[in-house]
């Protein structure tokens, strides 16, 4: 079994912490993993992505081939559309529906949402609001991870929960609890959609 995941967003939105949690869970589960990240200039407010590949067998390429991504996890709706050529026919897009507008030519929001909704498998939500309601305004990325969790399949929801506990342990019990709460809210969102 293998799962190819594209994580994306705008530089500074914290996609790498999502990758760190999935990486921890995958390592603990004994899976093969390759994770290509973007460092450098693009991190300054530009589009960023990370190719995350998980498998029970050897993984060769660090990059996901076109049409190969099982899940696109995006912190920003327009950014989720950037990777459509990489999305597998049966792939799922899990995205925040709240635009991050730092460019003058951002597309028309209604048309953007219509294009997104026309795709076969999309889970979307205002993750910042969910995080706020969960009492963890900084936990939007964990809400998003929760929304994506059922689609990751090669790792169980519980394995991802444990990884969150491990990764945030050094920041204290309260931070772990807050992030787990955000994650659980995300899982609930995906079950409703």
């Amino acid at each position: 079994m293998k799962k190819d995941i594209i994580l994306c967003g705008v530089g500074g939105q914290g996609i790498l912490s999502i990758a760190t949690v999935i990486g921890e869970a995958a390592t603990k589960a004994g899976l093969y993993l390759k994770q290509a990240e973007v460092h450098g200039m693009s991190q300054r407010g530009g589009d960023v992505q990370s190719n995350l590949r998980l498998s029970t067998e050897t993984i060769w390429s660090d990059l996901i081939p076109q049409g190969g991504a099982d899940v696109v996890i995006s912190m920003e709706p327009m950014e989720s559309l950037r990777y459509l050529p990489y999305l597998a026919k049966t792939g799922v897009i899990v995205t925040s529906c709240k635009p991050f507008i730092n460019i003058p030519n951002y597309p028309d929001e209604a048309e953007l949402m219509a294009e997104l909704e026309a795709l076969p498998a999309v889970v979307k939500m205002d993750i910042e609001q969910v995080a706020h309601e969960a009492g963890n305004p900084r936990g939007a990325n964990m809400v998003l991870l929760g929304m994506a969790a059922p689609s990751i399949e090669i790792l169980s929801v519980e394995q991802l929960r444990q990884a969150i506990a491990t990764i945030f342990a050094r920041k204290g019990e309260a931070v772990v609890e807050a992030n787990l709460r955000a994650f659980d809210c995300g899982v609930a969102v995906s079950q409703k959609q």
Binding site: V10, G11, G23, T27, Y32, L33, K34, Q35, A36, E37, V38, H39, G40, M41, S42, Q43, R44, G45, G46, D47, I59, W60, S61, D62, L63, I64, P65, Q66, G67, G68, M78, E79, L81, R82, L84, P85, Y86, L87, A88, K89, G91, N102, I103, P104, N105, Y106, P107, D108, E111, L112, E115, L119
Partner: protein, 533 residues
């Protein structure tokens, strides 16, 4: 034990475990994380492995060569264009030879993710006549460091370790071993004096070592042949990370030669050619191997690759490009989105460089013939909207010297914008030229107290810029320090205007800490305070 490591981190840990005594580097994407990892590694700290940033790649290369002269293992790291900066030292290190193992790590950036060209460092190694290792994955990156040090010491030559962005910045599990001890101080008794009479002998010695280097590549555990009776009669030469893309596409069904150690193993290439009808060369970067294979096999033998258009001539390799070259259909299930705009990087909100460009644009609006020569750093983004202030960005330090040359030609006003770290890297000598010529240029050293674009490393000249400029001969009345904030705009624009009108060298230093490092420092201070409680 397995550890999840970036390619860069695997190299760093491999070096520490191979008994490294010093890493010498200037930050540059995608090589920066190697030195940062060594700086933070507990064993390296305990051993006192040298890891402080250098002023530029040339000083780094020379210091590493000095450590090698003293018998210890040294690593010098840079991005590909850093090879241009240290080329004089690098090429001549092959002539002197080395004593302790010396690895020159060059991180190439095909597709120019964070660079101004996509030059291939394997050309440099070939030019200097030294071996190259090119890992295909993170495990090889770790293992090869020890192999490269051993080969360097056996041949008594520097060895190049070449990676590309995709490996440098990709993470995978790496099986790590036990650390070796550092080498003891063992200063060379030879004289590395490259006077012509001696240099000719050393060059002959370097040439005489070539067969041994070639044999080492033929015998290398990193170069291997894979054969499959069911595969088409197309031999694939897959170099470094390209091997992964080939394996992704063809699995076991290929006749291939994996090349991860150079000089190119010619006998292995000839054997592959003899048992197939054509060769496809798959390499990330420029067609270095493709050209060599063509020469080796002669005009009658079909060799395909980037030069023939079977693979794209430019840009990073991808599994998709390799699939296409092997005749496999494209895999996209969805067409590119319609509602999509490019999102280029931009200066952070609140960044001091923004205030510098606001002030410059305001003043220069009154001088329609002006040009602003830029340099390399976050502030290069001042070339993009909304500022669009810059007319050039070429190489480290070129802002000052290009402004000078244009002023020599009669351009007025000629303004240079350079960052603090770039100024000490390669701007100081150019400023001396301008001072000696009394060139009518205005130099803005936008000082954010760090090397910002690569993530906030220490900047070599912090707290020394006024002294450096005065020492180079800038007149005190034409040296100004300002704080780039909107509330100081009237003062900043007045000073820029006055100095543009001065017909000699002026230096203006807008100084305010990078907001990224300022936030980090605030977090660290808060944490320290909490721990104290």
């Amino acid at each position: 034990m397995k550890r999840l490591l970036l390619g860069d981190e695997a190299i760093a840990l491999g070096a520490i475990h191979a008994g490294l005594s010093g890493v010498y580097a200037y930050p540059g994407t995608p090589s920066t994380e190697i030195t940062e990892f060594i700086q933070g590694d507990p064993l390296a700290q305990k051993r006192g492995v040298h890891s402080r940033w250098c002023t530029n790649e040339k000083t780094a290369m020379e210091a590493a060569l000095g450590m090698s002269y003293a018998g210890k293992r040294a690593l010098v790291c840079m991005k590909h264009v850093g090879m241009n900066v240290c080329a004089d030292a690098f090429v001549n290190a092959a002539i002197t030879g080395v004593h302790g193992g010396l690895i020159v790590l060059a991180a190439d950036d095909p597709s120019m993710h964070s660079s101004q060209n996509e030059q291939d460092s394997r050309f440099y190694a070939k030019f200097a006549l030294v071996p190259t290792f090119e890992p295909s994955n993170q495990q090889e990156a770790y293992d090869m460091v020890a192999s490269a040090f051993e080969l360097s010491e056996r041949l008594r030559e520097p060895v190049v370790l070449r990676v590309v962005t995709r490996l440098a910045h990709s993470r995978a599990a790496v099986e790590v071993g036990e650390p070796l001890a550092e080498k003891p101080l063992n200063v060379s008794t030879e004289r590395w004096v490259l006077l012509p009479g001696i240099a000719r002998k050393r060059y002959d010695a370097l040439i005489a070592k070539q067969p041994e280097m070639e044999q080492a590549a033929e015998d290398s555990i990193y170069n291997k042949v894979e054969q499959c009776a069911e595969a088409p009669r197309l031999g694939i030469v897959a170099c470094g990370i390209a091997y992964n893309y080939v394996k992704e596409v063809v699995g076991e069904k290929a006749n291939l030669l994996k090349v991860s150690q150079y000089p190119l193993p010619a006998a292995a290439v000839q054997a592959l050619a003899a048992s197939n009808d054509a060769i496809l060369v798959v390499e990330d970067g420029q067609p270095v191997v493709e050209e060599q294979v063509k020469g080796l096999l002669g005009a009658g033998y079909p060799v395909k690759g980037r030069l023939t258009g079977d693979l794209p001539r430019t840009g990073e390799l991808t599994p998709d490009a390799v699939a296409k070259a092997l005749g496999q259909p494209a895999g996209s299930a969805f067409a590119p989105a319609k509602h999509l705009a490019a999102r280029p990087p931009q200066l952070c909100q609140g960044c001091g460089h923004r205030d510098v460009y606001t002030a410059l644009n305001q003043v220069l609006a009154d001088y329609p013939t002006h040009r602003v020569f830029g340099d390399i750093g976050c502030y290069t983004l001042g070339a993009l909207p909304p500022y669009q202030s810059l007319s050039s960005c070429v190489d480290m330090g070129a802002s000052i010297t290009m402004a000078k040359g244009a002023a020599d030609a009669g351009l007025f006003p000629a303004v240079a914008v350079i960052g603090d770290s770039t100024f000490t890297h390669s701007g100081m000598t150019g400023l001396l030229d301008a001072v000696n010529d009394h060139s009518p240029i205005t130099v803005i050293i936008s000082d954010n107290l760090t090397t910002g674009m690569t993530g906030g490393q220490d900047s070599a000249g912090t707290n020394k810029f006024e002294a450096i400029c005065l020492g180079l001969g800038v007149e005190p009345e034409h040296l100004h320090v300002v704080v780039p904030l909107p509330k100081n705009m009237a003062e900043i624009t007045r000073i820029i205007r006055e100095e543009i009108e001065y017909k000699g060298v002026s230096v203006i230093i807008p100084r305010r800490e990078c907001i990224q490092t300022a936030a980090r420092h605030a977090r660290e201070a808060r944490k320290a305070k909490e721990e104290k409680k």
